[in-house]
Symmetry: C2
Subunit: 255 residues, 2 copies
């Protein structure tokens, strides 16, 4: 397959491009020049500039985004990168007949469930009386509860994906990503042990996102097989035919 | 209450402003000059220009929108009016401490359910074997299924509302509007008999949207008490304490 990755120079892009290149022809777009072969510098807000780059592409992985998600992040930053660029990448992919589209969404799209119990306790590391095998989970079909403007723009990307899947026959996977550290390390906060996505699992997961057969539209949660969960990761693993191999508990810093 | 209506010059704005003015102080913003007292001409994409208009306002009704929703509607039209303007109106309302926010969303946000049965049959007027009292309905908590880019922008407005409600304590009502005709007439297509929202019911409904106590965040469907339904209008009426009085069947053109 020919795979085009936007934002290929970021942490996630670098990890998955290395892995996918073993099986596929990987090209990339980034806003900054990169040494990686097949990478083009382009501004995704310029649809005329980027459209030719989608010709002949089988699968797009759209990672490029403003990733700051603090409450005070403004529309001046979010609009070009998380709205216009995402709209353009969908449009360019559709115009070029791209079959599979993987959209990097975020757990923040449903992040406000973490203010409810039992998830608030799990995120805070208060495990008393909770059994990780039986806690209820936030699933993919629960209403969105964005925890900020950033999250609302990610919900928009998911909505657009649903439209292109339902009406245009594009195969769309929206990955509500957890926490991917540059260093692959787990921090010492308990929420990070819920959302940790190891680099090895990340690579296998995205390979499954582009390769899994029978996909129409899926929202999947992106995290490793961590003991403590808030989000229903298992349904996504099943849809994608993917088995994670890491668990944050095995790598948690000793206190 | 002091109520600010954006897009007050449109069909919906005119109907509800007349009704709300009997009980409340109504001001308005429109992109075109209007003869209505209290109406200011302003461009909602200019947050500095509009922010002062939100001071002292108790409730905002955000109607202004690009309302064309054909599949070929482009981002050149949707971005300024349905994305930037909506983001700005939420921001300005929040900054001014507005308590209640009513967002004019659309049934198109979930419009692709109409491609599934039994809703496809109902929308096409094929009623054989269906009982309007027992057909399943599209509820407010089902995942969005936008039928185009326009609909995806309306889903964004709903997501932003959820954020402001969850995190900022704003009381938000998202109205997934059906069909409001300039003339109040019902067309001869069966879907219009499902989605018809009479002017009288529209006015009462929006009054309830601003006045109903105990609202945190609600998604409600906006249509009259029509015999044939696709969307779960009744839950919204209950949340708002509103009783519609019209039914499309009583006004349907004789064939």
């Amino acid at each position: 397959m020919k795979i085009l990755i936007t934002g290929i120079g970021g942490t996630i892009g670098s990890v998955i491009a290395d892995a996918l290149s073993k099986q596929h022809e990987v090209t990339g777009i980034d806003i900054r020049p990169l040494e990686r072969e097949g990478t083009v510098v382009a501004d995704l807000t310029d649809i005329d500039a980027i459209s030719p780059l989608f010709e002949g592409v089988d699968a797009v992985i759209h990672l490029a985004a403003e990733r700051r998600h603090t409450p005070d992040i403004g529309w001046d930053l979010l609009l070009p990168t998380n709205v216009v660029a995402t709209a353009n990448v969908y449009d360019a992919a559709h115009a070029a007949g791209v079959r599979r589209f993987v959209f990097a969404s975020s757990m923040h799209v449903v992040g406000n469930y973490e203010t409810d119990e039992p998830w608030a306790s799990i995120a805070a590391g208060r495990y008393d009386g909770l059994d990780p095998e039986t806690v209820p989970l936030v699933t993919a079909d629960m209403p969105v509860r964005p925890d900020g403007r950033y999250a609302a723009t990610k919900a928009l990307g998911e909505s657009l994906g649903r439209y292109y899947a339902d009406c245009e026959g594009m195969e769309v996977v929206c990955v509500r990503l957890g926490t991917i550290a540059d260093s692959n390390a787990i921090g010492d906060d308990p929420r990070g042990c819920v959302t940790w996505f190891s680099h090895a699992d990340l690579a296998g997961f995205f390979s499954a996102c582009v390769e899994a057969p029978g996909i129409k539209y899926e929202i999947v949660y992106g995290a490793s097989a961590n003991t403590w969960k808030i989000y229903d990761t298992a349904s996504g693993w099943k849809a994608l035919g993917f088995t994670p191999s890491d668990n944050a508990e095995d790598h948690r810093p000793k206190s």
